[in-house]
């Protein structure tokens, strides 16, 4: 298990989840959990994914997701899970 948190924030539009999920599927990245809200028309999504079998190295995936975010007009961030668990769990 290689848990990573992907966050997507930006103006809401059709197909954001579809495009991100397609990319993840193509690269053998398994989605474990998705939560999503809309705050003042802003799309806000968090995914917990497992990159254990990912086809590409982490650096390349973050670059790809950066580019994908630019295309859709949202900001996509990709971070190892520990920064959140360390901060919010004793």
């Amino acid at each position: 298990m290689n848990k990573t948190i992907i966050t997507v924030v930006g103006r809401d539009t059709v197909g954001i989840i579809a495009k991100v999920c397609t990319y993840l599927a193509e690269n053998e990245i398994n989605i474990l959990d998705i939560s999503q809200t809309i705050v003042q028309e802003y799309f806000n999504m968090m995914m917990i994914v497992d990159m254990h079998n990912a086809k590409k190295p982490f650096a390349e995936i973050t670059d790809d997701l950066d580019k994908l975010g630019e295309e859709i007009g949202v900001k996509i961030k990709c971070q190892h899970e520990e920064i959140f668990t360390k901060m919010h769990r004793i």
Partner: protein, 454 residues
């Protein structure tokens, strides 16, 4: 499992409240580089630093990318050079060659500062200590990335007033030697009392002789985050205030602990300590003075400032120690003037004086920091200021320091611009009454009594 609100909270801290890891500092022992031949010593130093620290910057960047947390500085601290050069340096100029070697090595590995051009003279000064101290003005004028520090006293030994007197002159000479750049050299020179061996923050970082061959120390930050959470508890009791600061300090420190462990694992170098200091930057919203204002002061420097700072400092430590296995270094709130926009504003508004800053240093780390004073300030006056700070550290068993910049050619009312993280500062007036007969006395101030505390 982690939820979306927790993820958003962390990312807001990073993106909007300037949460970052201020520095990963790699401590390197250079004692095994000492040789009777100066050029051999220089070669060994260059080789050791560029070997041990080869991957420091690369690994730092990888950690930033993997966790999405900025690591502002990657730095190196080294064994005090007065020891390393003792066998081969016969003149101050010999020591300057080592400074240039260190500067070259720092550029080669891509760090932004290297600290440890230092001497520990808290009781007495060896010949080599004195040569190193006398070389400081030239060393800082002819290098870019070197930070220098001199420890002139401790609770156990008292204060070496011969060193204090000498440092007044050296600070002034360093200002003169770098006057073309607004006496910038003095921003990289700090005079300490009770200096810790494992401090990751510049300009006082050095790798003490009690340390491992190489060690990773990490300095966290986050005044902006503390300020932001305190906005939510305006008007609440001290209990709520303190709880809020503690919880936030815990969260901030955990990030530092994670980064330290990762850096240690990836570099194959043991983890030393986390320094829990709240270190401000000139960026808007990243200010310790702003926290004091949020606690309830109109300006930093108003009556109540020392108490508010004492409270802040203590809560940061209480929250931080639970978040990390090993805490060390300076660990407290920093109150530099030029590096903190809120402090600068307080000085400009007339709320904050050197005397109030001195009182504040009694309850927090580290001391009179990044304070610009008129260029015609006498060396004996600077020695007097150093002696006062050292006395506060000595009696209160804490680290204190003076990093003061007599800006040659400038006076009260003018400003000086250092650039980058060093910021800018209004030139503050200094008490003009004379203390030369006091600092002119030879010898040292004895160590204080450790009983009958009042």
């Amino acid at each position: 499992m982690i939820n979306i609100f927790e993820v958003n909270e962390t990312n807001e801290m990073i993106e909007q409240e300037n949460l970052d890891v201020r520095t990963i500092t790699l401590g390197i022992n250079l004692l095994d580089c000492a040789d009777e031949d100066l050029s051999v010593t220089n070669d060994k130093i260059y080789r050791k630093i560029t070997t041990v620290a080869k991957n420091l910057v690369k690994v730092g960047r990888e950690i930033e990318r993997d966790f999405g947390i900025p690591i502002v500085n990657k730095r190196i601290s080294i064994t005090p050079i007065s020891l390393v050069g003792a066998a081969c340096c016969k003149t101050p100029e010999d020591y300057v060659t080592i400074a240039k070697t260190l500067d070259r090595a720092a550029h080669e590995v891509g760090v932004n500062f290297i600290g440890g051009y230092s001497a520990i003279v808290s009781k007495g000064m060896t010949k080599s200590d004195e040569l190193l101290i006398r070389s400081i003005p030239q060393a800082l004028a002819s290098t870019e990335l070197i930070c220098s520090s001199v420890n002139v006293g401790s609770t156990k030994t008292g204060i070496n007033m011969d060193a204090v007197r000498l440092m007044g002159e050296i600070v002034k000479e360093t200002a003169e030697a770098t006057k073309e750049r607004d006496s910038l050299g003095c921003a990289k020179l700090v005079v300490l009392c009770n200096a810790p061996d494992d401090n990751p923050f510049m300009a006082g970082a050095f790798h003490g002789v009690s340390e491992d061959d190489a060690i990773i120390n990490v300095g966290v930050s986050g005044p902006g985050v503390v300020k932001h959470v305190l906005e939510q508890v305006r008007g609440e009791s001290f209990e709520v205030l303190c709880e809020t600061i503690k919880k936030t300090a815990f969260k901030i420190t955990r990030v530092g602990q994670l980064v330290a462990q990762e850096a240690s694992k990836r570099l194959g170098i043991p983890f030393g300590i986390i320094d829990l200091s709240l270190a401000p930057t000139p960026a808007i919203g990243d200010s310790v003075a702003d926290i004091l204002q949020e606690i309830g002061l109109e300006r930093a420097g108003a009556p109540g400032t020392t108490a508010a700072l004492a409270l802040l400092n203590d809560q940061v430590k209480k929250g931080g120690v639970m978040a990390s296995s090993y805490v060390g270094g300076l660990s407290g709130a920093f109150i530099p003037v030029s590096e903190d926009q809120g402090m600068i504003d307080s000085v400009l508004a007339g709320a904050l004086t050197i005397e109030k800053l001195e009182a504040m240093t009694c309850v927090c780390s580290v001391g009179l920091d990044m304070i610009a004073v008129p260029g015609d300030t006498k060396p004996s006056t600077i020695s007097g200021i150093i002696a006062d700070e050292a006395a506060i550290g000595m009696v209160n068993q804490k680290t204190t320091a003076v990093r003061i910049i007599p800006v040659i050619g400038k006076g009260v009312g003018e400003t000086v611009e250092f650039g980058g993280l060093l910021g800018y500062a209004p030139i503050m007036p200094v008490n003009s009454f004379d203390c030369s007969a006091f600092v002119g006395r030879a010898g040292r101030i004895p160590a204080p009594i450790h009983s009958f505390k009042n």
